[in-house]
């Protein structure tokens, strides 16, 4: 019996009136976990019931603790008829299972009903007592920490980065079960919510097991998604990066207990327990099985299926040899032990089945070189259910549309495996052994499914992957104990070389990652290479596309900006295989054009690199949508991009010539304007001297025009006039004119605004603490008249542009500000509908310091983060000496250091009411304690608490604090991994929530907009409530992964599904952190070194 879950129902408030006659409610609560249900007494005739229940205790397996949510149902007691449900609260207790995260869940939770939305709130207390886990062959993975954050979390240090973990779980969608015909929409929605919650829990547990197996203690960059495949089922899948993290000891007790406790015993036992791999399988699935079957008898489909099908990897990975993440056999490993370190890293990575990393930013020195974006897509056909009456086993079949015989449940695994293999080979072609910033996505329309994966090919340092060596030791020791000593020796040697290699690679940190990893003579694609403009020693490409965040050490000129390519292509309606074929024929064109657009827009802004590139392709019945978003920057190391030139095809006509030259002028003007706007003044005189190799015509002809057939002709054009490597845009038809037109019509951001889709904006460093996270959704109905590609494109482009315009307008009070992490998702929910959803955070910054000397603040912040992540002090000194020899940077560096400390300024710009979050957090804790002690004074409290001081005007000022602190904790939400001006002191656990909302009275709820508006607000409220109940005051790395909206206005109905995730954290303002002497000291030390590093 590994755990005891305890729950106490304290009180309710603002309950809805359930009895019309009395205008009151007789509420009671059911608390359910697994198959056990407890009930509170009925609290009669009150909208603010005080149950103050006993502690309900559930004795459960920790495995169940991971999978199951605690389910709290509030009902209205009715003597004569069935009790009416008021609503439910699902509480994920996973955060309580890690000793480092939350210890108690306590607070007010919104009572949620899928039909009525939030209906009052309930105060709940939840605790977990975990007993020591005696069963080593457990199915649970309690204690493995999960982070949505795609970098090493701020208060941890990466000891090791083990690599890619993935898992998927499949089930039948309750919405499509036969029973759905007879049950209420509410019951169906709840079944779905519960199922997804269960599946997420199970998925997380299984991934956790893999992590433990790899010797890690955490998953970073955890991305969980679900695919609603309609009748063919429901897939929940997740990817992440397994790491071993060490909590940085600050004021907190070094709670690194998890690492040794959880990872090492499992290893020990493996070594001791089975020398050979054989017993692993039966043992692992042996003892726990009967227990689980018992507990889940009511819920067999999901369990039974998922265990046999998709968890195959997990079970396999329990066997010592074939663990997938760290895979490879012993034979292979003998080689690398003797090889050079770099090769070893490479080989170690190659041994991994998939050397993928979901991280987008890295500890310094980890990312050595970046090759470019790699992506793969495939179109699959989901098969319909043939025979729905197959009893409790799954009745679905997922078919590969190429091979109809492949109806194994593993099909999904196989699909992804295929794509990952492709990605891997692409990376190899770029001379890279790893893929970073890796992500996967799907788009489903009816029975067609597009699977996409993308990432950035890269070469990584072995520094954080010593596990390759360490793992080797372990594995070797497992197989042959005799090799052990030599392995250990080798390990030490490795450490040494790591350091030296790291040093070498970091000599020019601001540009090293740009240096090409591939062979110059054997380039995978045509590219112009030049010597790096920073170090002049290595070659760099002319442009660089990546899916990662801008490395903190990168040298950037000027500011960055959000660049989007948007494309809409019509497609004939088709069925089945024909449809899939049509789509896969269209895809390459779509991608090519998106790429073209991106490149053109990049040039138009006079920039040479894209970060955070995300290409989304969405499929509808009669169209395909493509949206590529990225943050453009000017990397100082890369050559200055040439302009864009327009070439006419029919030079006979004079007016036509005129037209072209007009257009050329416009483009040139725009480029000039953009250079000014983004402060791009590269010191290019030096570069001219060195000169770049004269590009061969063939390379030049990488022409960015939409019609591929025209490209051969273009290559013959004379491009020699104008700037050295100008881009040519050829005009041969109206299409092209349109293209150029659309290129130029991207409205510039209004003054004071910047935008990017990465974590931070290059060139802006002095953030204030004012931030506003938001979600905006638009659905556009196409008039069925103009469905030409051009018309569609325009509509889609306008839709996105107008949405951005509206955002800028809405947020105008925050100027100067930057929209960060702008995340667009597009969908085609129905025939003539286009849906665009945006989630982003607007952050204000200090204008005064925007320019040069602002730089140091970010460097300080980042470096501080770095130092938190790393036990640094390795090379800052050498580093500064090295880079100050660079004439371009030293002067700048010095001037920066003398600037005022920005952190001192930041708090003053704060929202008045948002001041001292820390104290409100403490206040909240106090309040919580209060609630626990005396839960019974609640009835009056809502009246009394709010009552302000009797004297007039001044009250409004004074009472602010009193009600900010006393009632509801302010919870900040941000898609970024940090909050400027603050320090995250604790990660409380992952937030992963899935909600369905449905209405049958759409008009009464204010139409579709009213319906969705309140639903999104409700989702935010529930996220905040959960975070507050965990004792947190912010969600970082917040992401709305799914927003599926369906409507049927004729029936007055609508339904929406939203899936959100993030990391619950506690932060404190840096200004409020007790100014411990070492901190400012180390900070300033960093500042000086980093300042020169720029």
């Amino acid at each position: 019996m590994p755990g005891k879950l305890k729950a106490k129902i304290v009180a309710g408030r603002h309950l809805p009136v359930m009895d019309r006659a009395s205008d009151l409610t007789d509420a009671f609560v059911e608390v359910k976990f697994g198959n056990t249900t407890f009930k509170t007494d009925v609290y009669p005739k009150s909208l603010n019931p005080q149950w103050n229940s006993e502690w309900f205790k559930f004795e459960v397996d920790d495995e169940d603790l991971q999978d199951e949510p605690l389910q709290i149902t509030v009902l209205d007691h009715d003597t004569y008829s069935a009790n009416d449900a008021i609503g439910k609260v699902y509480i994920d207790i996973d955060p309580l299972l890690s000793s480092e995260a939350a210890t108690v869940i306590s607070g007010w939770f919104p009572i949620y009903d899928t039909i009525h939305g939030i209906r009052g709130e309930i105060n709940v207390l939840v605790k977990v007592e975990l007993f020591n886990d005696l069963n080593r062959f457990r199915q649970s993975s309690c204690g493995v920490k999960f982070f949505c954050t795609t970098s090493i979390p701020r208060c941890y240090r990466a000891v090791m980065v083990h690599g890619f973990v993935e898992e998927l779980v499949v089930n039948e969608d309750p919405e499509y079960q036969w029973i759905d015909r007879i049950r209420t929409p509410r019951a169906s929605n709840e079944a779905r919510q519960r199922l997804i919650s269960l599946m997420s829990g199970e998925l997380q547990r299984k991934i956790g097991l893999k992590v433990l197996e790899m010797g890690g203690n955490a998953v970073v960059g955890y991305l969980q998604c679900f695919d609603l495949e309609g009748e063919s089922g429901l897939v929940v899948r997740a990817i992440g990066t397994a790491c071993t993290l060490d909590k940085l000891s600050n004021t907190y007790t070094p709670a690194t207990a998890i690492n040794p406790c959880n990872s090492s015993p499992s290893k020990d036992i493996k070594e001791a327990g089975f020398g050979e791999e054989a017993p692993g399988v039966p043992l692992s699935s042996g003892p726990p099985t009967p227990l689980r079957a018992q507990t889940f008898s009511s819920f067999s489909p999901s369990k039974s299926y998922s265990r046999q099908s998709s968890s195959s990897d997990t079970e396999l990975s329990l066997t010592p040899k074939t663990g997938m993440g760290s895979g490879g056999s012993a034979g292979k490993e003998a080689g690398p032990l003797k090889a050079l370190l770099r090769q070893q890293t490479q080989t170690a990575l190659e041994q991994r089945e998939f050397p993928f990393f979901t991280l987008t930013s890295f500890p310094p020195g980890f990312l050595l070189h970046v090759g470019g974006v790699v992506s793969a897509r495939s179109v699959k056909l989901l098969d319909r259910i043939h025979n729905p009456a197959l009893g409790n086993t799954r009745s679905y079949k997922l078919l590969d549309w190429n091979s109809f015989t492949a109806d194994e449940p593993e099909t999904r695994d196989a699909w992804w495996e295929e794509i990952r293999q492709e990605i891997k080979s692409h990376a190899k072609a770029l001379g890279c052994h790893a893929v970073v910033g890796y992500s996967e996505s799907t788009s489903i329309c009816e029975e067609v499914c597009i699977l996409s994966a993308s990432g950035t090919a890269a070469i990584l340092s072995s520094r954080f992957m010593q596990d390759s060596a360490l793992d080797t030791e372990h594995r070797l020791s497992r197989q042959q104990a005799s090799v052990f000593t030599s392995g250990a020796e080798k390990g030490e040697g490795d450490m040494g070389s790591t350091a030296s290699l790291g040093f070498e690679d970091l000599m020019s940190p601001g540009c090293a990652f740009c240096h090409i990893p591939y062979d110059e003579l054997n380039m995978p694609f045509p590219a112009q290479l030049t010597y790096c403009h920073c170090c002049r020693r290595y070659k760099v490409p002319d442009v660089l596309f990546t899916t990662i965040d801008l490395p903190t050490e990168a040298n950037v000129t000027g500011k960055g900006c959000l660049i989007q390519a948007r494309l809409c292509r019509t497609k004939k309606k088709a069925q089945g295989e024909g449809n899939a074929t049509a789509i896969s024929n269209l895809l390459p064109f779509l991608e090519y054009e998106l790429h073209t657009q991106l490149m053109n827009k990049l040039k138009l802004r006079s920039m040479n690199a894209l970060f955070g590139l995300r290409i989304q392709i969405s499929v509808g019945e009669n169209m395909l949508l493509g949206l590529a978003s990225a943050t453009g920057v000017y990397l100082t190391a890369l050559p200055s991009p040439g302009g864009i030139q327009i070439a006419g095809k029919t030079p006979s006509d004079i007016t036509y010539e005129q037209h072209i030259s007009n257009m050329q002028k416009k483009i040139n003007d725009t480029i000039a304007k953009n250079k000014e706007l983004y402060e791009i003044n590269p010191p290019d005189l030096v570069e001219e001297v060195i000169g770049s190799p004269i590009p061969e015509p063939r390379q030049r002809s990488r022409l960015f025009r939409s019609h591929s057939e025209s490209s051969d002709e273009v290559s013959e054009l004379d491009l020699s006039h104008g700037k050295k490597d100008a881009f040519v845009l050829e005009i041969d038809d109206t299409d092209a004119v349109e293209d150029i037109h659309s290129l130029l019509t991207d409205a510039p951001t209004p003054p004071g605004f910047y935008s990017c889709n990465t974590e931070i904006m290059p060139g802006i460093y002095n953030w204030t603490s004012a931030l506003q996270m938001f979600t905006s959704v638009r659905v556009f109905r196409l008039s069925n008249v103009n469905l030409t590609n051009q018309g569609l494109n325009k509509v889609f482009n306008d839709l996105c542009e107008n949405l951005l315009k509206s955002l800028y307008f809405k947020l105008r009070s925050m100027v100067p500000c930057c929209l960060c992490h702008v995340n667009f998702t597009v969908a085609v929910p129905e025939d003539e509908l286009i849906q665009v959803a945006v989630t982003a955070v607007a952050m204000s910054f200090d204008k005064d310091q925007t320019q040069e000397n602002g730089r140091q603040s970010i460097d300080k912040n980042l470096m501080k983060a770095i130092t938190e992540n790393e036990d640094q002090l390795q090379f800052p000194l050498e580093l500064s000496a090295e880079s100050s020899s660079n004439p371009l940077n030293s002067a700048k560096g010095l001037s920066e250091v003398s600037g005022p400390l920005p952190s001192a300024r930041a708090p003053s710009v704060d929202y008045s009411s948002f001041t001292d979050r820390c104290s409100s957090w403490i206040e909240q804790l106090r309040l919580k304690a209060h609630t626990i002690r005396c839960g019974s004074i609640k009835t009056m409290s809502s009246l009394e608490k709010a009552s302000p001081l009797p004297e007039g005007r001044s009250r409004s000022l004074r009472s602010n604090r009193s009600y900010a602190g006393s009632s509801v904790t302010v919870v900040k939400m941000t898609p970024l991994s940090f909050i400027p001006g603050t320090k995250i002191i604790k990660y409380l656990g992952i937030i992963n929530m899935f909600f369905i909302r449905e209405t049958t009275s759409l008009r009464e709820e204010g139409g579709v907009s009213g319906f969705l508006h309140s639903f999104i607000a409700e989702v935010f409220a529930m996220v905040r409530a959960h975070v507050a109940a965990l004792g947190g005051n912010a969600v970082v790395s917040y992401n709305m992964k799914e927003c599926v909206f369906m409507e049927n206005p004729n029936k007055n109905q609508a339904q929406c599904l939203i899936n959100v995730s993030g990391d619950a954290v506690i932060f404190v303002r840096e200004s409020e952190l007790e100014a411990t002497p070492p901190q400012p000291h180390s900070a300033s030390a960093q500042t000086s070194s980093s300042g020169e590093g720029t």
Binding site: F774, R778, F780, S806, K810
Partner: protein
Amino acid sequence: MRRMSMELDVFVGNTTIIDEEVYQLWLDGHSVSDAVRMRLESDALSECEASGEVLHSDTMDQYRTFQMCERLLHCPSKLANQLLFQIPAHRQAMLIERYYEFDHTFAREVLGKKLSKGTKKDLDDISLKTGVALKSCRRQFDNFKRVFKVVEELKGPLVENVQHHFLLSDSLARDYAAVVFFANSRFETGKRKLQYLSFQDFAFCAGQLISYWTVGAVDNMMEDMDVDLEKEFLHDLKDLKVLVNDKDMLDQHKSLVCYQLKGKIKAFSEMEANFKNLSRALINIASKLTNTKDVRDLFIDLVEKFIEPCRSDKWTVGDLTLFLTHYTSTAHTLEMFRFQILWERYMGVIKSCILKMYHD
């Protein structure tokens, strides 16, 4: 709006964004399209170069937010501990205060009327007469009703009750107290002769009555309600009749007042001639206040019996002030007059009310 085929358009911030300007337009009862037009015309937004489309989207969005908040604003204390909208406390205070603010011209029309369905039906006329949009009239009327309903039965000081339950500023709470007080006692304010009086005039008088003539006024233990005038006090006022019924006392009073005022006021002769009538008027009003009907007519009586005669004799405000001051104080020197406290309590309020009401 080139294409109105935008099916759905929402914006939700983690911190609810509230544009005060749009909020005011909403409160004033403007339709979305009116509001968009007004915003387009206003200078404030000219530098944003916002198009009609953008403004429309923003306005719709704001209106929706306000509609969703409205439910909470009906019970302001809920706004502070609800979870749906994260609104900084000072913004919450602003939302509440603005929501409960009302047009004085509107309030003047409703003052003293029963806050019932019947009155609600007259809102169309009031809207026409005052120029306040019907929507806004409804909100204001409902606010009156809501506040009235909540504080009607509560013990303790009226202003504070309003403040506690609706989290309003002091001045706004006082105005509401006046509205509640008038609605409860149903004072006559609609007569033609009273039309010249503004809401502020009445609100001031109400404040005086609440402060000095209710139970709460004397007994600070807040044991009784503040909404009703103190019955005992009103009953005792009959005793003041002696001032006019006792001929000697009346003469003596007159001579004392005349002695004090001689040469100090312009309308001295008129005062001298009219003293008995004026005194009789004030005492009669006092003695009749046991009657609910007469309480309701307090203001019309003051105007007809006292203010109008003075006005026709062209008394200045200064004259009136001096007269009332000495009229009150000299009574204390009358040997036979035993009701000093009662007199002071009565005349204090009457004096300040009359002075407030004495204008054109």
